[in-house]
Symmetry: C2
Subunit: 524 residues, 2 copies
């Protein structure tokens, strides 16, 4: 059979069920072959950043990779920012990047570019298939590379003639590398730290366990909660988790703050820091006169489990040592009352906390408007929280797209901001095309509000019009209800807490996509 | 002074007057410094692909570089596709890419990525400024590299601390490398070819001069026209020129076709091909059973001038040898009549040909809908035609943005298609913000129509729904009038030739941005 068909059959056999696609000429045989393999569903995206972000959201929720289909170097380039986020999230994901026919490359046709170099900046595995007889085995290895703990981006470059030539056969799936087990002495060391052994400083509350990666799912949270309850250690979650399970009945978890000053305050007095699936905390950006590393001077850092290790098993083994018989401490069910009055970042968060449905998936790119969300939703029914892992904005709507495709029976809430939503706004069209149950809320403050803040934080003084105009999203105001309707998504605007509650309740009650533009009266 | 301010003063002194900007935290000192240097105008773009495409359009029309301001690796990544187009266009352009502070990079904060590798894929010059004392000289060299013949992309990576630290001084401009003069023997060789000398085959019409790059401006066209008139050689233009001057009073020029089969037909019988600023013709994509190189077997290829040589001077010298006393053959003024009836790609082209104003700049990304445009506009008043040089779609609206900033007194017509316009649709907001005199026409056929065609051309058989759905832009239909209004651009829809003529005349008569969605009844 043709290379394209063997490739698609191998992807499907390896557990890849969806391909978020933005194809071009060099991918036409791949597209044509989809008809023969219904196990791989093609989902059209109108921009590659939507496709890669959707594959990220899918992988976070499904726990197995989606594929993307991208058109040569520029197509991959358009998807790179969300692949950067996926790389930081540790999401399993397989890119298929079409290229010119092998014999055509030396002619340097207009679309010729250095795909391999682009791919290596975000991928843990890059392969250029050389022959149609190889492409299926290449794909099986790529899926295994993507699925290997903790998950990552694999990129298969597919020359057009490798795709269209005969002589290929599907390949058997390749088993991915499982997470390594944490050695017993490392667990015992952590237990000693928690017991305040003789080789470390005293003081229970001065010990912090920083949870990240897979530790933010229920088994890890339960074990960590037992440890904290028994030892007095404090739990913190990494700032931008790929997927955090939370809500009533699960142990609650405070996350490390984004702003370095706040994170420093959270960590003040910490003498012993245990890393469980998280990296040592560093400032998101550097600032004049602030350190890059956020732990207090003299704080001892102990790594219980790295990203490629089985952090949940390690936390459970540790809990069995230091907290035998202790139960996890669940977050009680508790919602804010529906607020009245003006719509602010705070009242918007209360509305969301009051209405968040059971089993919701929240894709959070609310940025400055999201400050009150964690507290307001902590006691809502169980849900998953997906965040902007790599700082490349334009992730929220695409990640919601993929999460909704992965979990068609769960409501998805995409929380965006006017600034960041514009980067990948064509995601809304895919919400409509696939009739995904995504409610998109755009917090509209007519500013790159985070940059107002950052301008002050870096010590820059910007009194003038030239600088201010580059942070200003008014003149003209963006009308997100018009943008949504232009892509087939029903939309409404809310300018008070009551209006927002009414629109959100209506959107959540109806299946299919909706958008609410939440115009904030006190910009967050 | 701070590095940022010395950098900006140096850019301005080197002739860079505009910075298309999408800044983030690491660029805040650059932004703040704009207030002190009014010679460098910041233009906000809501997506980096708009900023880089606008800088391309600006550079093509102004003949000197604009700057872009981009936020770390993901910001550069979002701008890469249009930088690829700019690279193919030979456009002078200077990227300023902010990065983490030098001492912060080793902490691998979330936004850390391999900026240098990304930059090298599109840039002829990449420099990472190491100290604030160096940044001004680096910038001066970068501008010179961008301006050196034939123009190209220079990328300056600016660490945040280099930007914010004191100790910098502006640097003097560095003279760019001028185009090389073509040696006399090369011109004499070309003259011999045109005279049908004894060492080449006979036959005047079998000689083709392929014009590209700077040869597509008036001096080159006039000289080439004299040569053709005197020798019987045939003139063709490269398929996707960066900037083609055309219209009544200028020599007309047929362009080499995009589709390889058509280009082969145009070149059939050619025995001698003279390249004047153009590259040897190759197929845009490879296809089973079609050659990559488009010249007929046995065709002799002679290079008169390459991209870095002074092609206009070479053509003039050649004309003085083979066509002394011969005058250029101007295209007569001639417009189609305004058509009635349905709106098709053909009648839409006639409307544009009938109404195109004197001095217009056309940014052409009409793709399949643009087939009839060259003939319909050939005798319109003088105008410039800018095309999709690198095949990375999403260029048309941003290039129009930059062209309008470069030439505020000229009307700009952006011809887009529904598929390609979505990649960089936030360009419309900048049209509104800056009140640019851009009329955007979106040809809406509800398809990636070019892929319908390509699916057949590669020999792929796609009868099934799965494949067809990935080429289909309906379900839901995109409403470009709603999208435009959502970004502050007045918009109308036209579904007949008469409606289109009325809306286009109205839009061209009013200053400021407009959008017309041209719904084609016979998809082009």
């Amino acid at each position: 059979m043709r290379g394209a068909q063997a490739l698609i059959r191998t992807l499907a056999a390896s557990g890849v069920g969806v391909c978020f696609s933005n194809p071009g000429t060099s991918e036409m045989h791949f597209v044509a072959s989809l008809d023969a393999v219904p196990q791989l569903r093609g989902v059209l995206c109108l921009f590659e950043g939507v496709a890669t972000g959707a594959a990220d959201g899918y992988g976070r929720m499904a726990g197995r990779p989606a594929a993307t289909l991208l058109h040569l170097g520029p197509g991959l380039a358009n998807g790179l920012a969300n692949l950067h986020n996926a790389r930081r999230a540790g999401t399993p994901l397989v890119n298929v990047v079409g290229d010119h026919a092998t014999y055509h490359k030396r002619f340097d046709a207009p679309l010729e570019s250095d795909i391999d170099s682009l791919a290596r900046t975000v991928s843990r595995w890059v392969r250029r298939s050389a022959r149609s007889a190889d492409v299926a085995a290449d794909a099986a290895e790529g899926v295994a590379a993507a699925r290997g703990a903790p998950g990552g981006v694999a990129t298969l470059i597919l020359p057009a003639d490798v795709s269209w030539s005969e002589g290929a056969q599907p390949a058997a799936p390749v088993p991915p590398r499982p997470p390594s087990l944490v050695p017993d002495p490392v667990i015992e060391d952590a237990a000693e730290v928690l017991r305040g052994g003789t080789d470390v400083l005293q003081g229970g509350p001065a010990c912090v366990i920083l949870l990240g990666g897979a530790a933010l799912r229920r088994p890890g949270l339960d074990a960590a909660s037992r440890i904290a309850a028994a030892t007095g250690a404090r739990l913190l979650g990494e700032t931008f988790p790929a997927r955090l399970e939370r809500g009533a009945g699960l142990p609650g978890l405070e996350r490390l703050a984004y702003l370095a000053e706040f994170a420093q305050a959270q960590l003040a007095g910490t003498q012993r820091l245990i890393l469980a699936g998280a990296r040592a905390p560093v400032s998101f950006f550097a600032y004049p006169d602030l350190p890059s590393s956020l732990g207090p001077d003299g704080c001892q850092v102990h790594t219980l489990a790295g990203a490629d290790e089985d952090v949940c098993a390690a936390l459970e083994a540790l809990a069995d040592r230091v907290a035998p018989g202790t139960r996890p401490q669940p977050q009680p069910a508790q919602r804010p009352a529906l607020p009245g009055g003006g719509l602010t970042a705070e009242t918007a968060a209360e509305v969301i906390g009051a209405l968040l449905p059971e089993g919701a998936i929240v894709s959070d790119e609310a940025n400055t408007s999201g400050l009150w969300l964690p507290a307001a939703t902590a006691g809502a029914p169980r849900h998953d929280w997906l965040t902007l892992t790599g700082g490349a904005i334009g992730q929220g709507l695409p990640v919601a797209t993929g999460a909704a495709v992965a979990c068609p029976d769960r409501p998805v809430l995409a929380l965006g901001s006017d600034g960041s939503a514009m980067y990948t706004i064509p995601a809304l069209w895919t919400h409509a095309r696939e009739q995904l149950d995504v409610t998109t809320v755009i917090f509209s403050n007519r500013r790159y509000a985070i940059l107002d803040l950052e301008l002050q934080r870096v010590g820059a003084v910007a009194g003038g019009d030239a600088a201010r105009s580059l942070l200003d999203l008014s003149r003209p105001d963006l009308d997100f209800t018009a943008l949504a309707r232009g892509m087939g998504v029903p939309a409404a605007r809310a300018a008070s807490a009551g209006e927002f509650a009414g629109e959100l309740a209506r959107a959540l009650a109806e299946p299919g996509p909706h958008l609410i533009e939440a115009v904030l009266s006190q910009p967050g």
